[in-house]
């Protein structure tokens, strides 16, 4: 993956606009966070292969970045994004890595199921 640059990533998001697409969205702080620090409230979520369509999609922020995708009836949102890749299958992979290089958030768009 490469560090996000807005002028590179914004057009990639546009490619998925107004199409039936599949989304992987995830946040995580790891399964061991509370084990390591008992005061830490571990939280995370993921959804994989949700079928959605958005009419407007923006990348914002100065880094780490945010993405908001506006759907007919709601929103998809991710923050903390740092890196991107358009993979060989034409999927847009966005991820946020922390200072240790561990994945904290992922938002991925694909025209085919993951």
């Amino acid at each position: 993956m490469k560090p996000i640059e807005r002028h590179l990533v914004q057009p990639l998001i546009e490619k998925f606009k107004n199409k039936k697409i599949y989304v992987h969205l995830e946040t995580t702080n790891g399964a061991y966070a509370t084990h390591t620090d008992q005061t830490f409230h571990s939280a995370g979520a993921f959804i994989r292969n949700a079928r959605v369509e958005f009419s407007q999609g923006k990348l914002t922020g100065k880094g780490p970045y945010r993405v908001g995708l506006k759907m007919e009836l709601g929103w998809i949102y991710a923050e903390g994004l740092t890196d991107f890749e358009m993979d060989e299958k034409g999927r847009l992979l966005l991820a946020g890595h922390n200072h240790e290089g561990k994945l904290a958030v992922a938002l991925e768009l694909s025209e085919h199921p993951f």
Binding site: A31, Q38, F46, D83, G101, L103, A104, E108
Partner: protein, 218 residues
């Protein structure tokens, strides 16, 4: 130990490295066959390599190759990747999972099964994996039930269960064990690096501890 197989059941590639790889190497050196059911490919891991080389989508491919190499180094000749998805074991049907394990137990007739101690293994996949193994063995008539050794590392395990009753010194195979650990490069590179700088960190890997699961009291 006799020459009957040992069956290891864990949810994630690298679960076998930390707590049991030394025992597996010793047994495989004695000619004891080892089968490893690895339930997932650790698809949802947070570690993407150090420096980062994997993405969420390529991580499973890397971890699969790492698992195959680690298994080879640990003397595991029969590695079975079971195709479940990381983080979801506790949401699978427990009896269906237990039935998969029973099928393998009938096939292999193992002398010993190794898994995580349910309720004392921190990660929900660990606990659910261990619970399904216990369920599987409970379904067997007691005379057909292999011995069950559990790995556990929650903070309360010694308070609740006492000290582990099986403590195995694996100092004689520590270099091989660390090679197994290092094979899971996407996950373990920082630990291996730390150990190179501070060899005393190796100490904890020289002993492997297990709690024998008692079916009578449950």
């Amino acid at each position: 130990m006799n020459q009957k197989p040992v069956l290891v059941i864990f949810p994630h590639p690298d679960d076998e490295s930390f707590g049991v790889a030394g025992s597996l190497i010793q047994w495989s050196n004695q000619g004891i066959p080892i089968t490893y059911l690895c339930l997932t490919l650790g698809e949802m891991g947070r570690n993407m390599g150090s420096p980062i080389f994997a993405t969420r989508e390529t991580l499973p491919d890397y971890r699969k190759k790492e698992l195959q190499e680690a298994s080879r180094l640990a003397g595991i000749k029969d590695l079975r990747m079971m195709g479940y998805h990381d983080k979801t074991i506790e949401f699978e049907d427990k009896d269906a999972l237990a039935d998969v394990f029973i099928h393998v137990i009938h096939e292999l007739n193992p002398q010993l099964v190794i898994t995580f101690y349910p309720g004392y293994s921190v990660h929900p996949d660990h606990d659910a994996c261990g619970a399904a193994v216990v369920r599987a063995l409970e379904k067997l008539p007691s005379q057909d039930r292999p011995l069950l050794h559990c790995v556990g590392f929650s903070h309360n395990i010694v308070d609740d269960l006492g000290k582990p009753d099986v403590v195995r010194d694996v100092t004689d195979v520590i270099d091989q064990k660390l090679a197994v650990l290092a094979a899971h490069m996407s996950q373990t590179a920082p630990i291996i690096q730390e150990m190179k700088q501070n060899p005393s960190l190796q100490e904890r890997f020289k002993t492997e501890e297990f709690w024998t699961y008692s079916f009578d009291e449950k």
